[in-house]
Symmetry: D3
Subunit: 255 residues, 6 copies
Amino acid sequence: MKINRVQELWKNHQFAIGGWLSIPSGFSAEIMAHQGWDVLTIDMQHGLVNASEMVSMLTAISTTNVTPFVRVPWLEPGIIMKVLDSGSYGVICPMINTPEDAERFVSYCRYAPQGTRSFGPSRAVLYAGEDYSQQANQTVLTLAMIETQKALDNLDQIVSVERLDAVFVGPSDLGLSLGYVPGNHEEPVLLEAIETILKTAKSHGKKTGIYTLTPEYAKRMIKLGFDYVVISSDARLMVAQAKQVLADFRLQKIK
Amino acid sequence: MKINRVQELWKNHQFAIGGWLSIPSGFSAEIMAHQGWDVLTIDMQHGLVNASEMVSMLTAISTTNVTPFVRVPWLEPGIIMKVLDSGSYGVICPMINTPEDAERFVSYCRYAPQGTRSFGPSRAVLYAGEDYSQQANQTVLTLAMIETQKALDNLDQIVSVERLDAVFVGPSDLGLSLGYVPGNHEEPVLLEAIETILKTAKSHGKKTGIYTLTPEYAKRMIKLGFDYVVISSDARLMVAQAKQVLADFRLQKIK
Amino acid sequence: MKINRVQELWKNHQFAIGGWLSIPSGFSAEIMAHQGWDVLTIDMQHGLVNASEMVSMLTAISTTNVTPFVRVPWLEPGIIMKVLDSGSYGVICPMINTPEDAERFVSYCRYAPQGTRSFGPSRAVLYAGEDYSQQANQTVLTLAMIETQKALDNLDQIVSVERLDAVFVGPSDLGLSLGYVPGNHEEPVLLEAIETILKTAKSHGKKTGIYTLTPEYAKRMIKLGFDYVVISSDARLMVAQAKQVLADFRLQKIK
Amino acid sequence: MKINRVQELWKNHQFAIGGWLSIPSGFSAEIMAHQGWDVLTIDMQHGLVNASEMVSMLTAISTTNVTPFVRVPWLEPGIIMKVLDSGSYGVICPMINTPEDAERFVSYCRYAPQGTRSFGPSRAVLYAGEDYSQQANQTVLTLAMIETQKALDNLDQIVSVERLDAVFVGPSDLGLSLGYVPGNHEEPVLLEAIETILKTAKSHGKKTGIYTLTPEYAKRMIKLGFDYVVISSDARLMVAQAKQVLADFRLQKIK
Amino acid sequence: MKINRVQELWKNHQFAIGGWLSIPSGFSAEIMAHQGWDVLTIDMQHGLVNASEMVSMLTAISTTNVTPFVRVPWLEPGIIMKVLDSGSYGVICPMINTPEDAERFVSYCRYAPQGTRSFGPSRAVLYAGEDYSQQANQTVLTLAMIETQKALDNLDQIVSVERLDAVFVGPSDLGLSLGYVPGNHEEPVLLEAIETILKTAKSHGKKTGIYTLTPEYAKRMIKLGFDYVVISSDARLMVAQAKQVLADFRLQKIK
Amino acid sequence: MKINRVQELWKNHQFAIGGWLSIPSGFSAEIMAHQGWDVLTIDMQHGLVNASEMVSMLTAISTTNVTPFVRVPWLEPGIIMKVLDSGSYGVICPMINTPEDAERFVSYCRYAPQGTRSFGPSRAVLYAGEDYSQQANQTVLTLAMIETQKALDNLDQIVSVERLDAVFVGPSDLGLSLGYVPGNHEEPVLLEAIETILKTAKSHGKKTGIYTLTPEYAKRMIKLGFDYVVISSDARLMVAQAKQVLADFRLQKIK
């Protein structure tokens, strides 16, 4: 089975640098896959990506050696298994708030006897190789999003769930749940919560990831000990650069 | 944030006139948006509209000042949040039969602390403006469909749910549940149930909407006190006029 | 090979009643196919229908016994042959202004030795049957649009082209070319031109069709002698009925 | 209402021969519909087919008299009702493990008073005819997949559920659940389980279906008493023949 | 008819700032439409945008007051008229090398008596308003790309074509035709050719546009006298920012 | 630039084995790409593949080391350059009947100074690498279809066209043009014509390809000296195997 490069980085005590895809286009995904990310996550939750666009985007990423992840819309078995059959090497599941949530999530991602995933890896076997069915349980990563007060309250139990590989922090939702405006990632209470998640996960042998908005913040998170940082998304990159070139142009206009 | 015109009409004690979209096409939606409706509802339940077609149709409606609503397929958080992130200003949820259903529904539509909606209004922020995250909880409307005997039995509790904005009557399903053929909206027992829903909702300060099949019926419902009537759908309009022009043509043939 | 019902009607000296499809949706096409038209024409010229949507719409029409035609965007061989391979039983080609245009058009629609159509009827053979390749030249209809002053000038030669089955009048473009506002189909000069086209075509044994906007006008054209009238389109029907139900509703509002 | 040919075969004590569709294409589905299957099942679980592609494929099958079934991704009401509204004449639901699962499944497929299906058969009424709403409960088939040890444990109760029409065996998942490698369908324990399912279902008057990989195995299952066998899928057929022609070619190369 | 803002800017002796769209997505187009461009051009030539995606993107742009242009794949009447019927307010046509090319191009974009455009502005009338058919000839802009040695040789005659509104310089193709590597826009011979085009066009009262790769170059072109500069494309912006954030991140890594 | 494996095989005096893709699906294309072909050709002429599906299919093939070719619908520059920008490594152009046709074809495929291809290799540069613009003229293959009597008459001149890499025989169209039923590839006159094409091409240093229907015929063509044989298509493979498994099943039924 084709190796999971994120898993390899983690085994070697290295971190993974991630991009994020919210534009529903295989072309856009393929362009992003050539920029130097270790992993690209197709966002089926807040991105406007449907199931067939997700397949096109996974295919586009598969033309390179970037590892493909998908964030699913919700803890719903139909779409989680679809994402896996389509060849995703990691599933990020939003709003894991209890150990029961985490157990259901992990179960949907694993074949019997470890879980309840149904068999039929239609595109996964093309991407991964003929031994996919034997290796998938050990190779495909499960990342549970910790993004509410309730999840913080249940953190110890959540990170104790067997076969959960990692937690992934969504700072906007977490901040919102803690009473702050989404997008502000500097509130001390939020930062403290992030550190707590990191330590608790580590103490149970789980890996840790986080969504950030800038290279600076991403860097800080790596220094804190995170194993996987998302630095930006296709749409966010496009907007940032558009604002900059238009500002540059207007600035020159004045001079 | 761009105002919700239905909300404005309701604040001014006026009613809203609605069209319905079941054909999965942005072009068709844009044509409908130029006909004079206050609100257009994209039907993801019985219409053959998938998530990316829904986005195209919301975009098409957004070229006008018609307010876009979406009826979701079911009380499932994944699609409800997708519809909101895509920029719908109202969500009509089918088969709300218990107060627990209504509470889950409302919770999926509201950001913390009022609910459990996840943050990431990708297209909504384009449509509504930069203050969407602050204003959405107050601006996006939630309409619970009352369409079964069970919902009638639980009506008082359902309409007592806080932050539910309105109930929406589905006469075909309601009639079916009461033992009648769907499409016959004149059964006294059904009409009585409709009046009960209207009064009960009003007595708890909730707004009321109903799906009708003709301007005459819609007019009666407005006279009864409904705040929002759907008069017809894209497909129904096309069929009615096709039947008429073909009948006219054949009639002339005979003479 | 499945018979061409329009051809059958014509053989029996009957006329064909046509609908028109400009909305790019198989669902919408299938609804239209149940309303009673003899023939439905998918409009790839002014309708917003691309090649794969055209296939979906042909398929939808093929669930009924309505005969499928396609109007192609232009006299371009790539798309004309695609439309035929997809299973259209008639091709309406816009802007045939010279006998050379007509000869090229007919040639693209016929296999050797009668023409230059390339062999590969991928979906046509599913729709029509295994003997499609032997029968297609005799069964698929070619309709040349006459819609400019230049075409009128060359009319005798155009309708003399062998294996051209029919002419089809586009009154809006023809009126525009004659100096009138498109949509006004009552100008005496335009009506005279329409009659000239009809007579000239008939005198050369060609069938005649025309696009109209109302059952009344369609009826007049049938009385004049036309063999095929298009009465309305999906979009036009939807708009007409929407305007009517909204007017009815508002009228009742006043009373 | 258009008859359900599988139901007719079963009434006449005949079995049904099935193909399987995992390629998301109306064209591919239409080709398959001309090969001689009694029934074709669109696989929305492990096939890469989304909801609008499913509609295109149902439409393509509807150009022939092959009966269309859909396997849904999971026991989720939104998609089950969508599949029915789109005109499927049978629903195969994966992972029915308890009688409660089976009851929910059947309920989603039946209109009141027999179930909780919501009314709005948008395309189904085009395919089936105007009396669809009255006849659907008696005509549309429900097939529950038995594919885990847990389902075996609950088998008697599952097959006792009223209005469930049939069970459908998924040998790969069932084998996996019993501890074997998926794809190996010859394990005695698995074969024994298959026989148990068959007998238990029959003893409660339920019909039985099974997914197989070869005509030989399918034949054995028919001899065992199965009422419906799936012999192969679009993708599997393509792969098998590709391997064969390439082997033939290379073999000749050597000689 | 809705005004053409580029035309207005030009009437007021101002220049227009353009973005470019090569990613086939309405969502991506809508994001770009919120960044501050005067005009966005959908690239159907080198962008991977088909006709229905073009419509979605035009619709997305139409939710804002940015002016929509389309670059067509080639001087082919079918697609040029499709783009206009879809509501584009400007057409950029590649490889206009002779006055005959320019005359054909302009003719395809104008209704009789000024040209040969066929009537049927299906979406254009929704975007522009009911008087589209009367005003379109005066409002929709035609931009001929000058990008070969041959076009330079014929420049005087090309810019003498009546009703051609502007020339648009493609520096990469022009450079290639002059013997340089595409992307290098600093060759003196190329810069001289650009100035010649500018002056020749101006002397015949035509407006001028140019595709550039940076705000600096765009600024220089404005100073030279260009009326319309394209600064960057969706894909190019995304790539530039991705490279920058990844470099920033790695830089910090080193420190 | 990524090498063109067909070119490499030819340089090494080996032949290339080809599959053919007519089903518009990236998933189907990816499955085919794992079966062992040297080259897969996406058929935009008789296959039902539009431009965005072609991109998805090229992307799917690009996950493997199979070389992607596209057959274009016709000798039309818009689509030929689109196919190249999308990353095709070979273009098969139908109906090349004269040396002028061949020269236009080759010109559309080559950048200046060798041709008139416009610059903008949006996806090609992702697939091939950053030096695509310098290497494409030497790496991308052009194959002219010889499939009419007229082409036979002009054969010497056609194969004399510089930078045309190969001729490709379409036996069905060629047979049709010679007066035979398409699909019968055994007529002596046709076989003679095929040999003539082969010899004439070889004598001018051109490579030769042919579309066949069976491994046996393909083998004969290789023995004759062809450099590239297409053995079968996705749809044809699926149909052949479906017929076989159904026949096997029914055969067993009898016994």
